[in-house]
């Protein structure tokens, strides 16, 4: 198992180099550069040229890339073109916020999705099943920003239960919860819907197997039959969906971060792309890509833990 993990971690290196080259080329191939953005519409050609020299944008493309990558190998992600802030410092604050949001919403989504999926499967074709699957369809199809704005109107304007001005405290405090619940629910709604549908179909498939009938015939309670025998054997596809969703939660927080004024990495990336702030974009993408790969690795390890038939050599 340890060898497998080390092997997967080594595979991360070419992935990250590939990602860095692709991001670098994309940023440089689209028109406009950071010097023009910093100079603004009123800047003269001389002013823009001076800014370009200061940022090193006058150097050949390969030289810029190699200089950047040599910094990265030494653990230095460089400085933001636009603000001069160290990229690692800028990413750290934002990453923590996004990670908190993604974890919280993944937990919310997993709990709601798995519970709703199990009940919908056990009570197949009941009103609860129809309700769950209808809400799940809404969750998959409704745009995230719309859900966010609707929740804000109901819970922040009408009932003034939650706040919308970003994270204002630690998650375990009242203030922190007030700022975290709505963005997490908004972000997790789509995931919860997908998990619910996957859990339902997965449990339904298992629940009609012979060994489940045998378990019932043995006189086991329905709770034991569902949770121990049916759910455990349905978990592989559910864990896969949760893992994949968590990765996309990290990368897909930009809308939720904008709607709820959360200072996260998704918003940082959009701002950086608009400002052609290459070091910032590159740093943020590398961090998100690393997380994505690690989450996939953890998902694979969990497979082995929940299904004894799976092992890694």
């Amino acid at each position: 198992m340890l060898n497998y993990i080390i092997k997967r971690l080594i595979q991360l290196i070419p992935v990250l180099i590939g990602v860095s080259i692709v991001v670098f080329l994309m940023i440089y191939l689209i028109p406009g550069d950071a010097a023009e953005i910093i100079g603004g519409p009123a800047a003269t050609a001389d002013e823009v040229a001076n800014i370009r020299i200061k940022l090193g944008l006058d150097r050949p493309m390969h030289e810029q890339y190699l200089r950047y990558m040599s910094g990265v190998l030494k653990g230095d992600l460089g400085f933001s073109f636009q603000t001069g802030q160290p990229v690692s410092e800028a990413i750290k604050t934002r990453y923590v916020n996004t990670f908190k949001l993604a974890v919280f919403s993944a937990v919310v989504a997993a709990i709601i999705g798995v519970c709703a999926g199990i009940i919908a499967a056990v009570k197949q074709n009941s009103w609860f099943d129809y309700l769950c699957m209808s809400v799940a369809t809404l969750g998959i199809s409704a745009p995230t920003f719309w859900i966010g704005l609707m929740l804000i109107i109901v819970f922040c304007v009408k009932f003034k239960i939650f706040t919308i001005s970003g994270f204002t405290g630690q998650i375990w405090t009242k203030e922190g919860l007030k700022g975290m619940v709505l963005p997490a629910v908004t972000l997790g709604f789509n995931s919860a819907a997908m998990i619910a549908r996957m859990t339902r179909s997965s449990v339904l498939e298992i629940i009609h197997q012979d060994y489940i009938h045998t378990a019932r015939a043995k006189g086991l309670s329905e709770k034991i039959v569902v949770l121990k025998h049916a759910l455990k054997n349905s978990l592989i596809p559910i864990v896969t969906v949760i893992g994949v969703n968590f990765g996309s939660l990290l990368g897909g927080t930009v809308v939720v971060e904008s709607v709820f004024a959360i200072n996260g990495i998704g918003r940082l990336m959009v701002q950086a792309i608009n400002a052609r702030d290459f070091p910032m974009v590159q740093g943020a993408v590398l961090i998100v890509a690393t997380t994505f790969v690690l989450v996939n690795l953890i998902t694979d390890i969990i497979y082995a833990a929940i299904d004894p038939r799976i092992s890694y050599k």
């Binding site: 028109p31 519409p41 009123a42 603000t83 802030q85 304007v157 004024a261 200072n263």
Partner: protein, 518 residues
């Protein structure tokens, strides 16, 4: 079963009481009921974008300028009501000759760390801006200054290489604010501007992407500000920002878009202030590309656009003026309304025929993907269809759009211009001077006689004479359809009703020196 049901009911009740408890406590600070408790003098401004930096030397964007105006001060300032340039850190000035500006500074002004404000600080700031290694984005504001002297603590002499009539308006520009040399030498004031200015508020904290906090300068030379804290909160989503004003999480915002205006106007807890503003939104042409190098074609476009109807869609957020230099700028004169072009489709068609395009032609209109211009573009497209100009829209993200226009790749384009100094020259030189081609002269306008006129509006030191040149230029550029001005902004400030004393200006700027909460 009953026990379980009871448990569920109790859990839900507890949870809801926890949150409604949160809600009621938070709304206490938001209602307007009389209370004996003193009101916390903390003001939160919501901004769509974060500042780029907090040093006037290294920034050039409005989000940064809003912060700079609290921390730093300029030698001169524009009167928010009259638009007249008056001394701020300066006491007075004289011109012993047209190329020399002797500026006397006010005495007894101190930087926020207690260091006296003297001519050395002015010299230090301007020399740093002019140093090419600094790469200051607004170095061009004092580019003509070739020598700076500080003969005594309270006198600064600026020598210019050419006469520079707009020196005072330039010195009123936020990006020529004076910095504290001690603070600048001690660290990077673009990131941490603690004690870097003479202004009413001291920089305290910047969490990039989230907020900037300023606190009062108790020793401010014009008197202690009433506000203890000012927070510039970044909220990129407009609907969220408006909601924050409505529920009291934030205190004020500027530039409310038309679709949210009624919502705020109808809220009894919010006051919306609207002023005639100086930004102009326009349709521009590339003068190097046919057929827009032809005056008759440009006139036809101008006649074909029904600006009154478009302004009618803006929910009161725009007003009409036919000139290039709008009503809120130095250089405007009512005479310009007798020039320009009214909506007249028949005349437009006739001019197109005279220009050799009786059946119209195809054209590409480039537009940056901001809400305001994305709304204008299809309108222009539909109106020009009426005179058989088949317009294809080329929508680009903002950075690509800037590069596209600077390179002169566009045929027609939509853009806007907002003046910081409120002087018409600040529009003419960047937009139409031939040496600004490749930079801000997107029209690639290049006419020697107009260059000469623009230079006169820059170099003439006699202000009455200079204004005459600006008025003349306004008429000539308008007649030449250098742009088709679509509308001028009515600028808006939306604030909670208990917020008083914000000085709001026609270019969307605000000052909080006398602001407070009731």
């Amino acid at each position: 079963m009953k026990k379980r049901l009871l448990g569920i009911v109790m859990s839900v009740t507890l949870l809801s009481s926890l949150f409604t408890g949160c809600g009621s406590s938070s709304s206490q600070g938001q209602n307007n009921q009389p209370t004996n408790q003193p009101v916390e003098q903390k003001l939160t401004y919501v901004s769509m974008t974060d500042a780029v930096g907090v040093s006037p030397i290294l920034t050039n964007d409005s989000a940064s300028s809003n912060v700079l105006r609290g921390v730093y001060e300029t030698l001169f300032m524009k009167d928010p009501v009259t638009g007249e340039i008056k001394p701020l850190l300066a006491e007075s000035y004289t011109n012993p000759d047209p190329n020399t500006w002797v500026i006397t500074l006010k005495k007894d002004i101190k930087f926020q760390d207690g260091t006296p404000f003297t001519s050395e600080a002015v010299k230090y700031t301007f020399e740093k801006i002019l140093d090419p290694a600094t790469a200051s984005p607004r170095a061009s504001l004092i580019k003509s200054v070739d020598k700076i002297e500080a003969p005594d603590d309270y006198t600064v002499i600026l020598h210019t290489s050419e006469t520079y009539g707009i020196m005072l308006t330039a010195l009123a520009h936020d990006n020529l604010s004076i910095v504290n040399p001690a603070a600048d030498k001690a660290g990077d004031i673009n990131r941490d501007a603690t004690n870097a200015g003479t202004g009413p508020f001291i920089f305290k904290e910047w969490v990039p992407g989230d907020h900037i906090t300023l606190v009062k300068n108790p020793n401010y030379w014009q008197g202690e500000p009433k506000l203890d804290t000012v927070i510039y909160k970044v909220v990129p989503e407009m609907a969220t920002a408006v909601t924050m004003i409505e529920n009291g999480e934030a205190d004020f915002m500027v530039s409310v878009p038309p679709e949210h205006l009624d919502r705020l106007k109808n809220n009894p807890d919010v006051t919306v202030t609207m002023l005639e503003g100086n930004p102009t939104r326009y349709v521009g042409f590339n003068f190097e590309k046919a057929p827009f190098d032809n005056l008759k074609v440009r006139q036809a476009v101008s006649y074909a656009l029904n600006r009154d109807a478009y302004i009618g869609t803006l929910n009161g957020l725009g007003y009409k003026s036919k000139g290039i230099i709008g009503p809120r700028l130095i250089g405007y004169d009512k005479e310009i309304e007798n020039h320009g072009y009214d909506y007249d489709v028949a005349k437009a068609k006739q001019l197109l025929a005279e220009a050799g395009y009786p059946d119209g032609f195809k054209a590409v209109l480039s537009v940056g993907n901001t809400d305001m211009y994305m709304k204008m573009a299809p309108y222009v497209q539909a109106q020009l269809k009426e005179i058989n100009i088949d317009v294809e829209l080329n929508v680009l993200d903002w950075a690509s759009y800037l590069a596209h226009c600077k390179a002169g790749e566009q045929q027609m384009y939509i853009n806007g211009w907002s003046n910081v100094t409120g002087d018409g020259e600040e529009l003419l030189y960047p937009q139409f001077y031939s040496k600004s081609i490749g930079a801000s002269n997107y029209s690639r306008y290049n006419k020697p006689e107009m260059d000469e006129l623009i230079i006169k509006t820059r170099v003439t030191v006699d202000q009455t004479e200079r204004v005459k040149y600006l008025r003349e230029a306004n008429i000539k550029f308008t007649d030449d359809v250098a742009w088709v001005p679509m509308f001028n902004d009515n600028v808006t400030l939306a604030a909670r009703k208990n917020v008083k004393g914000i000085a709001f200006e026609s270019n969307n700027e605000f000052r909080l020196n006398n602001a407070y909460k009731e």
